[in-house]
Symmetry: C2
Subunit: 138 residues, 2 copies
Amino acid sequence: MKTEDLELLDYELVVLIRRTSLDKELGGLDRSTYTLLTQLSKSGPVGVKALASEFRLDISTISRQTTVLEAKGYIRRLPDPMDGRSSNFEVTEEGMYRVMEAKKARLARHAQLFKDWTDEERQTFGALLARLNRTFIE
Amino acid sequence: MKTEDLELLDYELVVLIRRTSLDKELGGLDRSTYTLLTQLSKSGPVGVKALASEFRLDISTISRQTTVLEAKGYIRRLPDPMDGRSSNFEVTEEGMYRVMEAKKARLARHAQLFKDWTDEERQTFGALLARLNRTFIE
DNA sequence: TATGTATACTTGTATTGTACAACTAGATAA
DNA sequence: TTATCTAGTTGTACAATACAAGTATACATA
């Protein structure tokens, strides 16, 4: 394994994170809203605990975020019939609309960003990114 | 350009950012310390304004960070002889030692992370990342 | 040269996202 | 029945950030 390859990866990852984590907004939604709505729309109704574990955040953090999104009408609380302590959240129509719009905006931006890449480069990069992300988990 | 490629990239980028931006620590230094020391050690002595513009942060943010690092003895303030309003900062011996150690730790971690990749995959990924980062700038 | 404006930075204040600790209510086990 | 466990909420604290106001110095021009 070549040290200079690792050094390049280290540097470029730091740069990428620094740049992108400053983007407070993703297609008109703030980062936590976008990721939470996206996750909920994929996973279907789940509770605070499951979301916290998915995002590796404290449950108190997620609890506050769901409170805000519920107040905005983007998600709806469904009391769990089996367990009086917990609720599951589902994305409302309004929330779906918002996250769809945000996704559209993001895809348009990415189309710009990657416009000079070949299909093959985009696929390769996406696949390697996915692989890296899967490795992080272990 | 294929929509599914863009969707994969969008999703995997969000995941990567979410995961890595939660790492408060990079090899024993917090993120701002690591990036600031790295930048200073590359660029040589510069002032608050130049650092802020490099990082795209408010100068007040950098001003506070340099204050902290100076107090810790990681950087040293050099009054600019040409301009009484400004100072340049340079990394001290102590700071150099810290950032070197942090870099070692990060490279070791990356060696783990990418240990099942081929040299070619690492190089390709690094090159595509670098390209993406350069595109962000424009 | 005097004075007004621009610049580099610092400091006060507010916001946001986060974690930890204490607490509440309901579930489960002995 | 009582003790313990669990899901979630709320109080508090902290770090990173931006914006606004303030200070000291530099620069431009009348």
